[in-house]
Each structure stands twice: as C-alpha cells, then as structure tokens.
Symmetry: C2
Subunit: 358 residues, 2 copies
C-alpha cells in the first residue's frame, strides 16, 4: 500500500529566525517545516512528505473554497525541564479527526500514519518548542477538499497538512477568570448537525456572536442549544464545567457539543481524585438558581489553548452572575496545575497520556 | 479610493480548447480567465484584475482552511438567439452576497464593483457561453479569508474571486421530476445559525444526508427544521414550492432558509399571473395530509442550476407520497418555460431582470 511508504523529508535550506519568547501569541509564527499527504479516490492516502513551510497552491474551483469540506485538530508538544519532547494524547486527537472526517463525508486517515506525521514533524522542528513557563508548540493538523469541481458532492481529492506554531502562555500573568456572555439569539450548532465535528464552518458560524459579546466587554459567548435556547452547550471554543455543592457538572455529549480532549482529561482527573462528576443536560436556569442559592462554587472552560479557563462572570439576558467572587476557584487551579504539571513532565502521568517524541 | 480604479486585464496567451457541447456537465470546465480582488483592513478592496485562469496560492494557515470564513454566489450568463449576452438578476446576487458577508463577519463588497467584475469577465470570455437549448455559462463569485493566523477572530485579509464554467442543460431530455427523501435525522441549519448565508459550511454539512438519500435511490433530501423536525425548510440546495388546491405555498424566510433568487422570481411571476402564492410556516404533516386528500397538485424545487425541478415523490419515515402521478405538473412546466424564456431572451422581460453585457 502506497500510504505505508516512509515519509519523504526535504529539509529547509533557509531556516527562519525564531520569534522572541515574550512575543509568541497564538498561531502567529510557524516553524520551518510542514507535513503534506495527498488523497485520491484511486490511490488513497499517498506521497507523505515533510517539506519546508510554504504556500499551498490550489485550483480556484477546489471544493474547500465552495462547499467547506474540511476538518482540523489542535494539540501541543511540550518540552520538559530535562529536555524531552512530549505530546499530550495525540492518539485521541487522531481518533477524533476521523470521527470529524466521517461526519463531513471525508476519507479516514490511518491513525498510525497521522501519528507518524505529527511525531516526525515535531522531531524535525523540536528546536522551535519554546522554553519558558506555559510556552509550547501548537500543532495544527487539517484536511481540505481539493478536487476542482463545482458539483455539490463529496470531493474525490484531499490534502492532509500539519503546520506548527510556537505559542505563548495563555495567561502570561497567571490563570485569570474571564467574563462570558450567554448567547440567546445566535446558535452555534444543533443536534443532527455538525456541532461535534471539528470543522471550519462551526467556527465561522460563531464569529458574529463572539464579536457582539466582545463589544460588550465579554471574552467569549456561552452557547445554548439550538432548539430551545435553554440548555448549555459550550463556551466559545471550549467545553464548560460547573461545580455546584461539591459536585462537578458538564453538559453531556449530544452530537452538537465538541468531544473535547481536555474535557475528557478533566473528567478522568476528577474521577481519579474521587471528586463527583456528572455529565448530563444542564439548563442555564439551574446554573443561575445555584448561583442565587450560593451553591455555585466554580466554573471553568476547558480546551487545548488555555487548558483551564476559569469563568468569573456570566451575563444572561442582562442579568449578571458573579462566580466565586470573580476569582479563580481552588478546584480550577488544582486541575490547571495538575494537567499542565503532567504536560510539562513535572508531575507523574498515571494515565499514560504523554507520548514522547524520539 | 483604490477600489474604484479600473480593472487591470491580463489576457491569456494560451486559450484552452472549448469542451464539446454535449459533455458540459456542471462546474467541470472553466473558462480562460478569472477575476481577483484583494482586501486588507488597511486598503479595503483593491487591485481588481482579470487574469488567465490559474491556481491560487495561499499560506497553509490562511483562515479559510481552518475557520471557514467564506461566502459564494451562483448566477448564469445566457446567449440569446440573436447573439446578445445577458445575465439574470446579478444585482440580486451581489446584494445577497453582502448579506452573507455580514453574517460571516466578512467585509461588504461595493455592489457596483462586483457587478463590474462579473460583467467584465463575462465579456472577455463570452465565446465560452455555449450555444444549444438549456446551455449557459455558470458564474461563481466567492470570497475567502486569507489571513495566515490561527486565532479564532474574523480575518483581516480576503480575496474576492470570480470563475466561470460553461454548463449543460440540467435536463438533457427535458424537465423531469425527482424523488426526494424527507430527512428526519440530520439537520442542515436552524434559526439563529447561518442557514440563510451562502457559506461553504452549510453545503459540507448536508453531504452525509445527501449520500444516504442517494444510497436509497433518492436525488436529494428535503430538510426539516432543526428544533422540531416538523417544518419544511428547503430541498437539497433548492427552495421548495407546493401547489395545494390552487394555491402555491413555500416556506417563509426565517433565517435558516436560503433567500433564493429563483424562489423570489417564481413568487413574482406567480403574482404577475394572479396565481395565489403564500409564504408561511409549512409542516411536512400538512403536505402529506393534502396528498392523501387529493389536494396536493404539484411540487417543485427552485434554484439557479435547474431553474425548476419538479418533485415526483417524497419519502417521509418510509411513507411514500407520489405527487401528480410522478409527472411534471402544468404550472411547474409553465414557470420553467417562462423563466427560461426570459433568460434566453425568447420572451419579454416585464420585470427588468436581464442585464445585458456590452
């Protein structure tokens, strides 16, 4: 099978200067190399290669521009104090990518092949993994439909590409609570749609609400369900958790919510600590109720970029709810410290989450 | 203002052979030239140019690949019997494009500028408009986000591109009814989402249901509303009409349905003829009810590609409903003949819809 041939490597002859550690931001700078692999209906996935980071050239009729067949993933490589390079649960990302591929009528990518690509690329550009507390190398695998044909049918040609960006600490001055606007007008996704797929269209669909929330001084929106605008889905591009009276709640996966890998890791960590955690349908009303009764102790979002993002305030139809006095809760902080501790190799990894790049 | 500078034209030195008239299909062949214009936050829309049809080159971090900010339009140029070239309601397309741009947090394109681009391109490649009954030149304007940045915010850079494809008659053997599967599981869009925007993600989201319907012998799916799976939205990528007891019904625009230009033209034509036409919420149940009572006389879809596509059969939860004995209805045929008659310049155009290209 052509797909199993080794990765061809073409090294750059003009390595770029690395950006200053304190100016990294998120997804602004890209490393010296990228991975590409092609798919055709005839040959399947083939021609896997690492090449110098470069523009891609597509026919203007390529389906990605017109019908949006695309999926992506996001994960990070970390450098440990003793100089090892490790990835956080890349196998989980590759499995999810294939669930997204399936939902978008796109061909699956053999998990081993995708993992090899990511490890190979992380290895060749490992000097790009920044030192410094909270810094890491963000890895962005994505698949795009490239067939040049305007018929509305699944593309017969694709490219799988991996690019990488050194990123700074999400909270340069330490983990800080955000203010969240509960969105009652716009809807991100609904059951029966593509909300659980990590596909480009879901993100474009959320921009207008996000901009409106920012105009009012909020960092992100909290999305409610599309049918009744009653039930909590997710926060911006993160999953969301609430600690009420000692128990941690998060919306159950229903097809319209992203099956977050940080979400899943937090649930496993909480169970490991014997903290009660419940996945179920959660209404915004009961969160406000708990807030008024003094039982809402903490809230936080989970995602690859921020890991844990405490929520200090909600605004639902003009009614503000301050959570934990607007401060980071103890449990939020403990989860953040433990998860990042595992990721940076400072703490033991009892779950076998970290995959070392040799 | 830079945007108002004239269009720069670079003609091809290697014109392509034209495809055979009987093998045109849809969106397979592209003409010799394309239009491109750039947008930056600093300069607005600028550098409008017609160049030889060619691949486009983008950074792999361009936002269109990751967050799906893109809108498109579709319209046609027709050649009349006496050799004139005319466009069908291009102003309506450009206005809709800007409504889509707004929903997707993308910058508007001055309508005059976009119309000039389309007319200029149609003129330079007018030899590509195929002769022959039902043939036309399909024009595909689209806008893509090109900024190379992985933050989830609206792009600060875009390209507006127009490509054109000579297309064949949708029904080479005359207008023929299609079989439609009523989709009860998957959902295309919902109120509060981006269903009324002509954006790539809406089309990718529909592919899986479409493929499942095709596997069962159906041409397209009929989408129901996302909240209750009860109310009719649209058919595949067309709007849908039902003639019941002498009155024509079509779902009212609600934000999740595309504001079709053919849909609007059909409504205006019906009013012109004094045929009662009603836009309102329509349940699939009442359509089946009307079918059982013998009051459902005709059904048809409307769109740029097919103009009118009669519906001969519905299948809802396994229950088949044959419409008008599976044959094309009289009114469907009359609308088709009159609309295409106006488009090809065979009939008078009482609405001022046709715009001639000089």
């Amino acid at each position: 099978m052509i797909a199993s041939t080794p990765i061809q490597i073409e090294r750059t002859t003009t390595p770029k200067p690395k950006p200053p550690q304190d100016k990294l931001g998120f997804g602004i700078y890209f490393t010296d190399h990228m991975f590409i692999m092609n798919y055709t209906a005839e040959f399947g996935w083939h021609r896997s290669r690492i090449v110098p980071y470069q523009p891609i050239t597509l026919d203007p009729a390529a389906k990605v521009f017109h019908y949006g067949q695309t999926v992506f993933e996001g994960l990070k490589a970390y450098k440990t104090a003793d100089g090892r390079v490790q990835l956080f649960r890349p196998d989980a990302n590759m499995k999810r990518m294939n669930r997204s591929n399936d939902r978008m009528s796109m061909p699956p990518i053999p998990t081993e092949l995708a993992l090899e690509a990511i490890k190979g690329l992380a290895k060749i550009d490992q000097d790009w993994i920044p030192d410094g507390e909270g810094n890491s190398l963000y890895i962005r695998p994505f698949v795009i439909a490239t067939e040049a044909l305007l018929g509305v049918q699944p593309s017969l040609e694709y490219q799988f590409i991996v690019i990488m960006s050194p990123v700074g600490a999400y909270y340069p001055e330490g983990i800080n609570p955000v203010k969240i606007f509960v969105e009652s007008h716009y809807v991100r996704a609904m059951v029966g749609g593509v909300g659980e797929a990590k596909t480009a269209g879901n993100y474009a669909a959320g921009l207008k609400a996000q901009d409106a929330a920012k105009d009012q001084g909020y960092t992100q929106v909290l999305w409610l369900d599309g049918a009744e605008h009653k039930y909590i889905e997710e926060v911006g591009s993160m999953n969301v958790f609430f600690k009420i009276d000692g128990t941690v709640y998060t919306p159950a996966l229903n097809g319209s919510i992203l099956d977050g890998i940080t979400r899943n890791s937090v649930i496993r960590l909480l169970k490991h600590w014997n903290v009660p955690v419940v996945e179920r349908v959660l209404s915004i009303e009961e969160i406000y109720e708990a807030g008024k009764n003094g039982k809402l102790e903490e809230s936080f979002g989970t995602g690859t970029a921020a890991v844990i993002s405490p929520v200090g305030e909600l605004n639902w139809r003009g009614e503000k709810l301050i959570i934990n006095g607007g401060k980071t809760g103890q449990l939020s902080e403990k989860i953040y410290n433990d998860l990042t501790g595992i990721q940076y190799g400072k703490l033991e990894d009892p779950f076998g989450w970290m995959i070392e790049v040799h």
